[in-house]
Subunit: 351 residues, 2 copies
C-alpha cells in the first residue's frame, strides 16, 4: 500500500501520514469501495468505516487495520488519529469539504494539517498489467454495446431511447456506465458535451456516440461517429481530417513526450486543414478508476507522460448548427510507442 | 429567488450574499442544473457557468444574470465577485472543497468569508404544490416499475437482474433512478443498505425492494417486502408489527411535531413487541430534489416538522442471518395531519 514512490512523496513534504478521503484513491490503495470511508495512509494503515460498511470492509480491505468508527463518525476518526501520536498529517484538499476540514482542525489541535493534491492520483497514472486488463475488458464491453445499438438506428428513434438501450446492454452483461452516455444526432453532435434528448433520428444525420463502460472498477472511453444516409461533402472532409490527426498522434505518442506535444501533433494537423479554431477542446486525458484522470494531453501541459499510462486521443471538429466529428481511442503509452486499446472500426461508415 | 425567508436568514448573519455551490440548491433557486455552476445569491443574482453550459444556462436559469466565466473558471468568478463590492460573503461549507475555499480566500482578500450550512436546504424543506406533484409523479413511476418487476420473481433470478429490469423500466418511461436500488433476497434483507448481488431467488425467501425514481428533478422513495413462498411464522409477526408501527406514525404525524416524537411513536410500538433493539436505524428523512434531505425523523431531533414537508416513514426490524422487514411510505406533513403519497399495497403478500 505505502509504495516506495508514495513514501517518497510524503517524505518530501515531511509528512508522516496522509488522510485519504477520495473514494477512488481508497479503493486503489486498499480495495475497499464505499460511499463513506477514510484511509489513514502510513506505515500502519487504518481504514475507518461506519456500521453499514464494517462487514464489507473487513472482506474487501487488504493490508490495513479496519476500524468501525462508532458514534459520530468524524469525532471517532479524529480521536483515533490523535491516539496514534502523529505530528504532521496530509489531507486531500480537493476531496474534503471545508466543513470537514473545520472538524479536523478543531479536533486535531497540535497536529499540523497540510493540504495536498494528486499524491495518490500520480501513483494511479501508472497502470499495472491487471489494471490494463480491466480497462480492456471495459472497452470490449462498450464495443459490444455499440455494435448492439447500431441495429437500433432507425428513423424516429431518439437519442435517449438509444442511450437506454446501450445502458441496459452494459448492465445486463454485469458492467456499469463509466459516465452518462453522449449520443447526439445531426446538428447536436456539434456540442462536445451534449446531453441526450428526445431529438429523433432522421435521414442525413450524423450520429455521434461518446460512451464508456465500467468493469470491476475500471473505465473505458471511446467516441465514434456514423453517417445515417449520405453525408454532406464537408463532413466527409472533416471526418478524414480528424481521423488523420488522431492517427498521427497514436503513431507518435510515447512515454517522456509532454502532454502539450501530443496535443500539438493533432492541433497542427487540423490547423493545416484550416480547422484549428473548430477543435475547441484538449486532445485527451488519462483513464482508469476514473474516466477523467491524470495525465492531461492539452496545450501548456509541460508534464511528461509516464510509461504505462492509459490516455484518450480524441481530436474533434465542430461546426455549430451543422454537426461535429470526434474520434476517440484509448491508448496505452509505453516507452517505445503506444498500443491502441480500442478495436472498433474507424472506417467512414454510412448506415 | 431571494425569498423573504432566505433574505432574513442572510440578514441574521449580516451577510450580503451567499455563494451557492450545491448543484441541487442552484437548480432549486434558479432552474439551472449542471455539473459546474456557481450562483451568487443576493439582490442581483448571478449564475456563473463555463463554455459547456452557457447556452443551456441562458435557457434554464430564471431571474438571474448568466455569466460565462472564461479562462480559469474560479479566477473569473472571484474577479466578478470583487467587482460587485461585497464585504461579507457566505458560502456553503459542506459543498465547497478546502481547495476551492483556499482559492476564494486568496483571491477575495478584503471580503469576509463566512461558512454556512443548510440555508437553502431549510427553504427546500417546505414543498410547493408543483414540487409535491413531481414527487407524486416519481412515486407513481416507481410503483409501476415495482409492479412490472414482480412478474420477474421466479426461482433463479438474481437481485442484480431484477435491479436492471427495474432501472430499464424507469428509464424507458423517461425517469431516472433516485438512488441505487436495494433489492435483497432472504437473509440479505437483514442488511438495511444491501447492495444488489448475484444471489438467486429461492422458495421461502423474503424479497425486499427499497427503490425510488426521479422525475423532473424530484425523487421518490419506498420500501416493500414480499414473501416468495410460505414465510416463517416469526417473519409474519414482524411484518405486522412493522406495519402497525408505521401506520401509527402516519396517523399521528403532523406539522409542529418534533422529529424525535415521530420516531418515538414507531420505536415505542416496536419496543412493546420486544423488537426495539432490532430497529437499528432512524425512522425517516425528507425527500425532494435529493432522496435524503431535511427534516430528519430520528431520536434526539428537537426540531419541529414544518408544514408541507415530505418525509419517509420507514420502520424496520432485522434479524441477522434470517431476514428483515422494512415498510416505507412517503407522506406529506400538513398542519392538521398527513397525506400518504404512496399507493402501493401493504397487505402481506405471498407470491
Amino acid at each position: 500500500m505505502l509504495t516506495p514512490t508514495l513514501k517518497q512523496a510524503l517524505e518530501e513534504k515531511e509528512i508522516e501520514a496522509l488522510l485519504v478521503t477520495h473514494r477512488e484513491n481508497i479503493a486503489y490503495l486498499c480495495g475497499f469501495y464505499g460511499s463513506l470511508g477514510v484511509l489513514l495512509l502510513w506505515e500502519n494503515p487504518v481504514l475507518f468505516v461506519d456500521g453499514r460498511y464494517y462487514t464489507q470492509a473487513k472482506e474487501e480491505a487488504k493490508n490495513c487495520e479496519v476500524v468501525w468508527a462508532k458514534n459520530l463518525f468524524w469525532n471517532t476518526v479524529c480521536e483515533q488519529i490523535k491516539n496514534r501520536g502523529l505530528k504532521r498529517l496530509g489531507f486531500e484538499e480537493s476531496h474534503l469539504s471545508y466543513h470537514l476540514y473545520r472538524i479536523l482542525r478543531d479536533r486535531l489541535r497540535g497536529i499540523r494539517l497540510i493540504p495536498l493534491s494528486d499524491v495518490v492520483e500520480r501513483e494511479r497514472m501508472i497502470k499495472q498489467a491487471w489494471e490494463i486488463e480491466r480497462i480492456e475488458q471495459a472497452q470490449r464491453l462498450s464495443e459490444e454495446a455499440l455494435s448492439h445499438c447500431l441495429a437500433f438506428l432507425k428513423e424516429g428513434i431518439s437519442e435517449k431511447d438509444l442511450a437506454v438501450e446501450l445502458e441496459f446492454y452494459i448492465k445486463k452483461k454485469g458492467g456499469d456506465l463509466a459516465f452518462e452516455s453522449i449520443i447526439a444526432f445531426g446538428e447536436r453532435s456539434a456540442l462536445p458535451h451534449a446531453k441526450c434528448t428526445t431529438r429523433k433520428l432522421k435521414k442525413g444525420d450524423i450520429v455521434l456516440f461518446d460512451i464508456g463502460a465500467r468493469v470491476e472498477g475500471y473505465c473505458s472511453d471511446m467516441t465514434r461517429v456514423f453517417f445515417f444516409g449520405k453525408p454532406q461533402e464537408d463532413l466527409i472532409e472533416i471526418y478524414y481530417a480528424v481521423l488523420n490527426a488522431q492517427q498521427k498522434v497514436i503513431d507518435a505518442i510515447r512515454a517522456e513526450m509532454k502532454g502539450s506535444e501530443a496535443d500539438e501533433i493533432a492541433r497542427s494537423e487540423l490547423r493545416e486543414k484550416g480547422f484549428a479554431d473548430l477543435f475547441t477542446h484538449s486532445l485527451g486525458h488519462g483513464v482508469g478508476r476514473e474516466v477523467h484522470e491524470l495525465p492531461a494531453l492539452a496545450p501548456y501541459v509541460e508534464e511528461k507522460l509516464p510509461p504505462n499510462c492509459v490516455v484518450t486521443v480524441e481530436p474533434g471538429v465542430y461546426i455549430e448548427g451543422i454537426g461535429g466529428v470526434r474520434i476517440e481511442d484509448m491508448v496505452l503509452v509505453m516507452e517505445d510507442g503506444s498500443k491502441d486499446l480500442t478495436k472498433f472500426t474507424k472506417e467512414l461508415t454510412i448506415l
